[in-house]
Each structure stands twice: as structure tokens, then as C-alpha cells.
């Protein structure tokens, strides 16, 4: 089982729809490369839709943190959308819900980037 990711642009935000498992190995490397590639192309507002992520391990969590830091360091924002209960619980246990801006509605999430950008 592997990870799949497709991206689309919505109002200046790159929404990346991710499905499958994010675990140590190839999938973590793919996610890291994906985020770095979008940053390199100047896409600094990233919204990761994790609705169809069935499993994430500690390495996958680490990759989310790594992406968050990389985007922040480039002056951008990386936010999370549609966490499954499993992923939500993991981020809660690890206190990362205090770090990530997490949304349950895509339109609201997109709007939150705009507000920040124009603030």
C-alpha cells in the first residue's frame, strides 16, 4: 500500500489531496519531495487534505512537521484539512494540534490563508 497525492490550485492555495499510508520509507520521501518541489516553484500556501490517509506512523508525523517547518522558513503557510479520527488522535497525543492549523472545511481553510495574507 502506497501513498498517492494530487494537487490543485484554489484561490492561490495549493491543495494537495493525499491518500493511502504515510510511513517510513518511500512514502515519507515522496511527501518530503512533493512539498519541497512546490516550495521551489513558489507555491508557499499549502493545504494538505488528509481525508483519505488511512495510516500514518511516527515518521509520517515527522514528515508533516518537517514540511511545516520548511514552508514556514520560506515565509509560507502549511495547513491541514480533513483529518481522520486516527490522524487527529495522533496529532492530539503528540501535542501537534497546538502547532498545526487544522480545518474541517475546505472553503474555510482556503479563506484562512487569504485572511492571513491580507492581514
Amino acid at each position: 500500500m502506497s501513498m498517492k497525492a494530487t494537487a490543485r490550485e484554489v484561490d492561490g492555495v495549493t491543495v494537495i489531496d493525499i491518500s493511502g499510508r504515510i510511513t517510513l520509507g518511500e512514502t515519507c520521501q515522496e511527501l518530503r519531495q512533493l512539498i519541497r518541489d512546490y516550495l521551489a516553484k513558489g507555491h508557499k500556501n499549502l493545504l494538505l487534505n488528509l481525508a483519505d490517509v488511512t495510516y500514518i506512523d511516527s515518521s509520517g508525523i515527522g514528515e508533516l512537521v518537517s514540511g511545516f517547518t520548511a514552508v514556514n522558513n520560506q515565509g509560507g503557510q502549511m495547513k491541514l484539512l480533513n483529518l481522520t479520527k486516527k490522524v487527529h488522535d495522533l496529532l492530539q497525543i503528540t501535542k501537534l494540534l497546538t502547532v498545526f492549523d487544522v480545518h474541517t472545511d475546505e472553503a474555510t481553510a482556503i479563506a484562512s490563508f487569504s485572511k492571513k495574507a491580507t492581514a
Binding site: 511516527s58 515518521s59 515527522g62 497525543i93 503528540t94 497546538t98
Partner: protein, 141 residues
């Protein structure tokens, strides 16, 4: 791999592919033990993180080195042993992943998650190897 009604043992090469094999065994034993889905996921994650530690840190990703696993259901608990050929680690030296200064670290959450998801966790060193023992208590019914 050997198995009886309530126990299964496996000796696996130290590869990431075999982490998924261990995950599958864990899920099978969880189902046999009657654990609900949420607890099955917790045990699977604890086994997954323990296997990663065994493969990467214990056996240094040397595929020729083995990871031995035993899952057993007895006395209303699921007991899991995962043994590698490494020299072990000092738990007290693992930084607290919940400390504010560590929240944005990329790694260091594995042992914390294992402890959180299992009812008991301990480390032993039989014959110079390193073995983690994970226990999930089962409901009486």
C-alpha cells in the same frame, strides 16, 4: 513462522517490508483477541514503531540480522515480544517529545507512542540482544 491457537512466532529479516508483515500479524492477533478497531490500531502502531526501532536502530538496517517476534494471548492479555540483535538503548536518554522545545523535531516520537498505546511496556536484554515486551489487557468479555 510457527503458530498455535493462541500464539504465533516469526523470525524476519531486518527490512522495511517486514515491518508491514509484522503489522499484519499484529492485526490478525488483535482480531483473534477480540480487540475493537480502535485498540487494534493502537496495537498495530505500537508493533509498527517497535519493528522500526528493531530494524533501523537495533539491527542497523542490516537485512541479514533478524527480528524475532512472538504474539501470545493468555491470561486476558495480548503479550508481544519483539527482539533484535542490537545492544539496546537507554530509555532515560530519549528526549520528551511533548516538551515545547521538541515539538517541532522530526523524530523521537516512536517510544512515546508505544508507551501511550500499550498498557505495559518494558525492555529486556536476553543474551546480549534487546527485547521489548508490549502488553494489552483484554476485556473479560
Amino acid at each position: 513462522m510457527t503458530a498455535d491457537a493462541n500464539a504465533i512466532e516469526a523470525t524476519l529479516d531486518s527490512t522495511l517490508e517486514n515491518v508491514e508483515v509484522a503489522d499484519e500479524i499484529a492485526l490478525r492477533m488483535c482480531a483473534l483477541a477480540g480487540l475493537e478497531e480502535e485498540d487494534q490500531h493502537k496495537v498495530e502502531m505500537a508493533v509498527h514503531e517497535s519493528m522500526i526501532n528493531a530494524v533501523r536502530h537495533g539491527n542497523k538496517s542490516d537485512a541479514s540480522k533478524k527480528v524475532w517476534l512472538r504474539f501470545e494471548i493468555r491470561d486476558r492479555r495480548l503479550e508481544i515480544h519483539i527482539r533484535d540483535e542490537g545492544t539496546g538503548f537507554d530509555e532515560t536518554q530519549i528526549p520528551d517529545p511533548l516538551a515545547p522545545e521538541n515539538l517541532l523535531k522530526v523524530s523521537g516520537r516512536g517510544i512515546f507512542l508505544i508507551r501511550t498505546f500499550m498498557d505495559e511496556f518494558r525492555i529486556e536484554h536476553p543474551n546480549g540482544s534487546t527485547e521489548v515486551i508490549l502488553i494489552k489487557r483484554l476485556n473479560p468479555n
